[in-house]
Amino acid sequence: MNYSFQFGEILANGDLLLRGLKLTVLLFVLAFSGALVCGLFIGVARGSSRRVPNLIATAYIELFRNTPVLVQLIWFYYALPALSGWQPTAFTAAALGLFLNTSAYCAEIWRAGLQSLPAGQWEAGRAIGMSEWQLLRRVVVPQALARMVPAFTNRGVELAKMTSIASTITVQELMYEAKMLSTQTFLPLETFTVVAVIYFVLIYPGTLAAYALERRLNSKGA
C-alpha cells in the first residue's frame, strides 16, 4: 500500500470544479430560499384545523418525506414534459425537485415553531382584532423564528448535501464535474477526496452555526 497521491493534477483542473461549484451554490440558494417561504404556507395549512388544507398539506409532506430525493428528481425530469408539455432543463428539474422536497421539511419546522408559541399570544392578537395573517406576521413569526433557526440551518445542511444528487440527472454541478474529472484523469481517489473536502469546507460552517445557535437558545432558556 504505497500509492503516491497525485493531487497536483486535480488542483490544476480547479477551474472545472469551480464552475461546478457555482451551479451547486445556485441550486442551493434557489431551492432553499423558495422552500423557506413555501414551507410557511404548507406548515400553516398543516397546522390548520380545517380539514381540506390540512389533508392536502399532510399528504404533500408525507409524500416528499417518504420517498428518496433521487426518485423525486428523476420523476420531475420525466413527468413535467409528459404531463405539462413543458420540457425543463435538467437544472430546472433539479432545482424544482430540491425546492419541493425541502419545502416539505421546512413545513414541519414551521408547524412545530408556530405551535411552540403559548396560546395566550394568539389570543392576545385576536383580542385586539388582528387577522390571522397579521397575527402570523406581527406576533407569531417574529417570536418563533429565533427558535426555528437551528432547525432551518440543519435543513440547509441536508439540502447542500442533496444538491450532489442533481448530478445523476446531468446537472453539471460540483459532483458531476468531479465524475468527469475522475474519468479524464484516471485519478478517482484524488478527485473524490478533494471534492469531499470541498463539500466539507462548504457545509461544516453551517453545522457549527447550528450548534452555536442551539447553545445560545438553550442558555437563554427560550
Partner: protein, 269 residues
C-alpha cells in the same frame, strides 16, 4: 330563582350595549354554559363571581368569540354577532370577528403581552396594524394611555423587565388603545403576587369612574363590592343570583351563594 330582570336595571327604552340570550357552550360532551341571558346597559360594571368550573371565564370568552358559542345569541348595540348555523352554533366570518374584537377589549389572566415588542409598541400594535392609524398618531395615543395606567416612563422597556402588576397595567393600556365600547377582564389579578394586586385594581377602579362598560371575572370579593354596579353569581353554567353588590354580597338569598361567600371567611367590606 331571584333574578333581577334586566328590565329593572335598564331604562325601558334603552338598547342594551350588550345583549346575551340563551347562551350555551359545550366542550365535547361537557356543557359548561347552560343558557345564560344578560342585558348590559351603557356604563354598567358587572362583576362575575363563581367557584372554579362554574363557567364564568368561558362566559366572558364567549362574548368576544374567543370561544365560539354552541347556541344562543349575542348582540352588540342591538346588532347580532354572527349567524346561527344548522346545528344552532353561532358562526361569524373572520372580518366580522375582527370588527367585534376592536369594539370589545379583553384583559387576560396571564397578561399575554407581546415579548418581542417594547411596552409602547405593544400598546401601538392594535391601532397601527388593525385600525391602520398613522404611527405618529398611534404613538401619541399609546403614550397617553400608558400615562393613564401610570407607566409612561416604562414605554421603551420590554415586558419581561416589568413586574407582573406593571405588565397587567400595560395590557390594560393595550386594550384601551383600541377605544373599545366594552372591556372584559378575565381574572386580571389571579396570577399576581398579593402585593401587586392593588396597583392593578386601582387602575381598574379609575376606569370605572370614567363610566366605561365593563365585565369582570374575579375572586376578589372586596374589590367586586366597590367596583360593580351589578354582581352575577354563576353556578353550574347558569346565573344563579344577581343584583346590586349589597344584595348579592351582603344579603345573598340563595343558599349556594351564601355557601360560596362563606368560604371566604376573611372577607370584609
Amino acid at each position: 330563582m331571584a333574578n333581577v330582570l334586566p328590565a329593572d336595571v335598564l331604562p325601558a327604552d334603552a338598547t342594551p350595549v350588550l345583549a346575551v340570550e340563551g347562551l350555551r357552550k359545550s366542550f365535547g360532551t361537557n356543557e359548561v354554559l347552560k343558557g345564560i341571558d344578560l342585558k348590559v346597559g351603557a356604563g354598567e360594571r358587572i362583576a362575575i363571581l363563581g367557584s372554579s368550573g362554574s363557567g364564568k371565564s368561558t362566559f366572558l370568552r364567549c362574548i368576544n368569540f374567543m370561544e365560539t358559542p354552541s347556541a344562543g345569541r349575542i348582540a352588540l348595540d342591538g346588532t347580532p354577532i354572527g349567524t346561527e348555523g344548522r346545528n344552532g352554533a353561532l358562526t361569524a366570518k373572520s372580518g366580522e370577528l375582527r370588527r367585534l374584537r376592536t369594539r370589545v377589549g379583553m384583559i387576560f389572566q396571564q397578561f399575554n403581552l407581546f415579548p418581542h415588542m417594547s411596552v409602547l409598541e405593544n400598546v401601538m400594535e392594535g391601532p397601527v396594524t388593525v385600525k391602520g392609524l398613522p404611527k405618529a398618531e398611534a404613538r401619541a395615543k399609546a403614550q397617553d394611555y400608558l400615562k393613564r395606567v401610570g407607566l409612561a416612563e416604562k414605554a421603551d422597556q420590554y415586558p419581561q423587565r416589568l413586574s407582573g402588576g406593571q405588565q397587567q397595567r400595560v395590557a390594560i393600556a393595550r386594550a384601551l388603545a383600541m377605544e373599545p365600547e366594552i372591556l372584559l377582564f378575565d381574572e386580571p389579578t389571579s396570577s399576581l403576587d398579593p402585593e401587586l394586586v392593588g396597583e392593578v385594581l386601582d387602575v381598574i377602579l379609575g376606569l370605572s369612574r370614567e363610566g366605561r362598560t365593563m365585565l369582570l371575572v374575579t375572586h376578589e370579593l372586596g374589590f367586586a363590592y366597590h367596583f360593580a354596579t351589578r354582581v352575577l353569581f354563576l353556578h353550574e353554567g347558569r346565573i344563579h343570583e344577581q343584583g346590586t353588590p349589597d344584595e348579592v354580597l351582603k344579603n345573598p338569598r340563595e343558599e349556594r351563594t351564601q355557601a360560596f361567600l362563606h368560604r371566604f371567611s376573611a372577607f370584609h367590606f
